[in-house]
């Protein structure tokens, strides 16, 4: 049976939400990893026992460079976006996950013909409205730079999910 235009729009909105949830999760994970890497690097360079290793007598210049970089990072650490981004993304991902569960559950009503076109349309715009509210609330004045690599990964994950749960193959 051919799909109604409003049901199709709802399906596309739902798929987009799935991709965005995946995208934000990857974004959060990478930001966490970056923050952790910076902290580990700073911990190593500030460790007095590592400073005392005899090997640095041979490679004094390299150690000097490492120390210079670590001091530079220490100075600008609180201006790097990763930390704030991690906090915001954590809250957005939580909101979006809840939205996904709720609106994916409503897909049953949409696909089983239990709702009118107007109701489906309202539901679709409710997804958009709630996403926007969450982004405004948690991102504040900042925005997320688009990462194409994460986005491709998010789409692949979403396709695998759709294939698993909504595949038309018998």
């Amino acid at each position: 049976m051919s799909i109604n235009i409003y049901q199709d729009k709802y399906w596309k909105e739902l798929y987009q939400l799935r991709v965005h949830v995946n995208y934000l999760e990857i974004y959060m994970e990478r930001s966490e990893r970056m923050d952790k890497t910076i902290n580990i690097f700073l911990a190593i360079t500030s460790s007095s026992s590592i400073c005392g290793w005899a090997i640095w007598n041979k490679f004094g210049f390299i150690w000097g460079m490492i120390i210079a970089v670590s001091q530079l990072i220490n100075a600008i650490k609180y201006f790097l976006p990763y930390r704030d981004r991690m906090k915001s993304l954590n809250k957005i991902v939580r909101d979006f996950d809840e939205l996904l569960v709720f609106f994916e559950m409503r897909w049953f009503d949409v696909s089983e013909g239990k709702l009118t076109e107007e109701e489906i349309n309202n539901l679709q715009f409710e997804i958009r409205k709630k996403k926007l509210e969450s982004l405004k609330k948690h991102l504040g004045a900042s925005s997320l730079p688009v990462k194409d690599k994460y986005f491709c990964m998010a789409k692949d994950n979403a396709n695998a999910y759709i294939n698993n749960f909504y595949s038309m193959e018998e």
Partner: protein, 46 residues
């Protein structure tokens, strides 16, 4: 005094306060949506 107040008055920035479009700036739109599974037609309006 009046000159001093005038001097520290901030220059209005037309960009400041402009609402951001978060949906487009932060989350890229998705294309190539896989086809939807079979559906029943929507309920008729009364």
């Amino acid at each position: 005094m009046a000159d001093k107040e005038k001097a520290i008055k901030p220059i209005p920035n037309p960009k400041r306060g402009k609402p951001k479009d978060f949906s487009e700036k932060s989350l890229p739109p998705v294309d190539n949506t896989p086809p939807a599974p079979p559906v029943k037609p929507p309920k008729k309006e009364k």
